[in-house]
Amino acid sequence: MSAVDFWPPSTLEIVFLLLGLVAVGSALLVVTTRQLVHAALWLVLCFGALAGCYLVLTAEFVAWVQVLIYVGAVVVLLLFGIMLTRAPIGRSDDLDSGNRVVAAVVALATAGVLVSVVVGGFQHAYADLRPGSGSAEELGGSIFRNWVLPFEALSVLLLAALIGAIVLSRTDISGRR
């Protein structure tokens, strides 16, 4: 057995790696760009590339949910937040705090530890991709057969988050006198 048996990558893995490269590159631009609105738009590209990654990994339903919720809802919410806080729309040089160097050191250390552990631990693991195992039918059956209680708890959580957001953002609601 060779030392690295995940190299050279197959065609599928090359597609995955290209999508992952787009995701990682746009994520880097999200955390380094000097324009607030551009950060949100790079986030769209990052989430879209990740949805492509899920598609390659045969998780189609998760990919479409990612497109709907992350690209559709979360980024729009973030853009609303940017507009409502009257953020500077053009270039602004004060988006980074003073501890950039420390943050870069911590992030590089995290990346080094995680990548070395992951490569060391999973270099022989091979996932046989089987199309259809992540379809809406399979996942729906699984959610409503085995995961009903967490699903219901999650709907209560969403309702609580909705009410909380309304209460927090309205100014004409005061406490009990």
Partner: protein, 102 residues
């Protein structure tokens, strides 16, 4: 598909998110970086679900749950950011020092 590739991509995304949380001072950019970290975890969950071929599909179902919780988190987080902006007229994290040690 070797499991190394999604795991490495997820590790890189996670550390980029860590950098963003530590280095940015605008609260909305910090929220974006938190989303990046959550997405790294999602990629790991999907990859390991496909690898282990779980009968209950726990990886992908948990990914859906994490996506829903992330949506709720961003909603509440932005409401808090707007409330802070109304009272303090600033959302820069290093200017909100009232609760810190002097």
């Amino acid at each position: 598909m070797h499991v190394v590739y999604p795991a490495v991509v997820a590790a890189l995304l996670f550390s980029i998110g860590v950098y963003g949380v530590l280095a940015r001072r605008n609260t909305i950019l910090v929220l974006m970086s938190v989303e990046l970290m959550l997405n790294a975890v999602n990629l790991n969950l999907v990859a390991f679900d496909v690898w282990l071929r779980d009968v209950l599909h726990s990886g992908q179902v948990l990914t859906l749950f994490v996506i829903v919780i992330a949506a709720a988190e961003v909603g509440i987080g932005l409401a808090i950011v707007l409330a802070v902006f109304r009272t303090r007229k600033a959302i820069e994290l290093d200017r909100l020092r009232e609760l810190g040690e002097p």
